[in-house]
């Protein structure tokens, strides 16, 4: 039931990835000193994905698994992306909007989507 031989990789590989993870984490950490904005969000996401990718591919050895397993693991979370996308859309464009318009709640005048409002710069944080 088991594989006769385990996977053999040089230790140096692990040290490399380990080091890279430190570097990328440091990168993420320093985004915190940046101004909020698209650049920062993009960097946060990029560092996050790079880190996640290294962990899954190298440390969890997914890279060396057969495609049958790789796809079985990577495709199902697609359902989560649908859920996430729709929830983001609904929360922003509908629920939150109705709270602002009808309940007069708007803590971030900057988020106000009404372009006619002089205080309003859509989407800027």
């Amino acid at each position: 039931m088991s594989s006769e031989v385990g996977q053999q990789h040089p230790l140096s590989l692990y040290f490399w990835i380990w080091g890279l993870l430190f570097v990328v984490s440091a990168g993420s950490y320093f985004t915190d000193f940046m101004e909020a904005g698209y650049l920062r969000w993009t960097l946060i996401l990029t560092f996050m994905l790079v880190k996640a990718g290294y962990i899954v591919a190298i440390f969890m050895h997914l890279k060396w698994e057969r495609w049958a397993l790789i796809y079985a693991l990577l495709l199902p979370p697609g359902a989560l992306l649908v859920l996430m996308g729709l929830m983001a859309w609904e929360s922003w464009d509908y629920t939150w909007l109705s709270r602002v318009v009808y309940f007069g709640e708007d803590p971030y005048p900057l988020r106000c989507p009404d372009a006619a409002n002089p205080n309003c710069v859509p989407m800027a944080h």
Binding site: M1, E4, V82, L83, L86, M87, W89, S91
Partner: protein, 580 residues
Amino acid sequence: MAQAEIPYQEAMPLHHPHSWVTKYWFSQDHKVIAVQYGITAMAVGLIALLASLLMRTQIGFPGAIEWITPDRYYQAVTMHGMIMVIYLLTAFLLGSFGNYLIPLMLGARDMVFPFVNMISYHVYLLSVVILLASFFVPGGPTGAGWTLYPPQAILTGTPGADWGIITMLLSLAVFIVAFTMGGLNYITTILQARTRGMTLMRMPLSVWGIFAATVLGLLAFPALFVSAVMMILDQVIGTSFFMPAIASSFEPSASEYSGGSPLLFQHLFWFFGHPEVYIVALPAFGVVSDLISVHARKNIFGYRMMVWAIVWIGVLSFVVWAHHMYVAGMHPYFGFFFATTTLIIAVPTAIKVYNWTLTLWRANIRFTVPMLFAIAFVITFVVGGLTGLFLGNVIVDVPLSDTYFVVAHFHMVMGVSPILVIFGGIYHWYPKITGRMLNDTVGKLHFWITAVGTYVIYFPMHYLGFVGVPRRYYHNEPLGESAFYPASAELLNQGISIAAFIVGAAQLLFVYNLFVSYWRGRPAGDNPWEACSLEWRTPQTPPIHGNWSDTLPTVHRWAYDYSVPGEKEDFIPQDVPHRA
């Protein structure tokens, strides 16, 4: 490589029982665990059945029993729905059929991790105990409807809003743990421990249905788990995940909430809930395919399409959830997306229906009791599925949502059809489990009352829905001057209730049959139905612990070689080699 793994499976260490307790209570044998699951599920199922009869008493004859107050009515509705869906159907189809059939049909000795399997049942039992405990906590069980929508589920206007809902959520969380342990076992066994020659495309459709349903479960139950955790937090320590600011004239303390989103709960619930309905449908689809094929003495028509249909239904079921929320106040544009995906699901499902009926075409149908149930399944499922299309077609759902049309839809498609399959399956495999046949006459009587009766109960309900009668109404009597309800419908409701009483009582026949045949039934022999699949090929009936003799069987063909031209017998078991 592949071959290298078999010897271990053959020599797989099994935990052999030494005492009654380890043999029947803490057994690690998948067959015993299956029976444990089955008995427990049926026992709670009977409670849910009683609850439904209480409800029908109130709806058909309002006020006839004063004990049924609105509180108790809503508690009955909730417990009825929840028990039926989760603790009966899911537990029975996966816990019982899944456990029994997977190793036998795949030629395995047992599940890959029998110990985990054993724990799984006991955790399920624990969840049932917590569930039943909710009947005894202060305030009684929750009456929030099986959908448990907040805010009402945790506000005092609803019965059982404090202890009842907490025990319910806790029980669900525990159930999910049990399901996960069982489910991991099923999937690993199906993917990694089949016998020689058993490719996925040779598996009986029962296993395919159970497999797909288990995958759905492992991916869908997390959403329920998460929402249960968040609702418990909302209720117990006063977080506001699902709770916006509320001005309840009932409960001043509700004013402590603010900013949460009730819609979030509904999305999570249905992200679980829709796959859940297929979790109970897919195993039924699979089992019924096998029943039809065996008793029609004909191969299942379009096996490959059947498999792909199961897979596609499974995949699509993750992107249709919000068809339960068309009028729930979600983003209005979602309607377009979800109506489209929902109706697309009709296509693979339709293929399955066609293939069942086409299997009957030019067959050689033996009207055994399992076959009767299978045929009744197909027709009730068609009715229920087609009414599902009404509801899926977003604008049509607007007048029908939350009326008895929906109640009729889901009882046809879930309350009747999978139940019919469970009955059919029990009649079919009882001889394997006990070595004795169930009594045929009692079985036929049980079938006719149940099949005709349930149709009489649910078909007319659709029309109450057209009239506009809302579901979850304690009674529909005029309040003051209001009378939306035509008097004639009152009569209809009485008729439905009477039919329900009869069908409910007829289930006693079945219970009686189960018991009496265990001792008095006709000995079954090894393969009473002359079926091809592996479970009928064990050296012993009932199979011993470990299922097979020293070597596992080798599979040479699919499970549906019935009436092969040129052969003497009209069935060729899967482990019979092709003639050279």
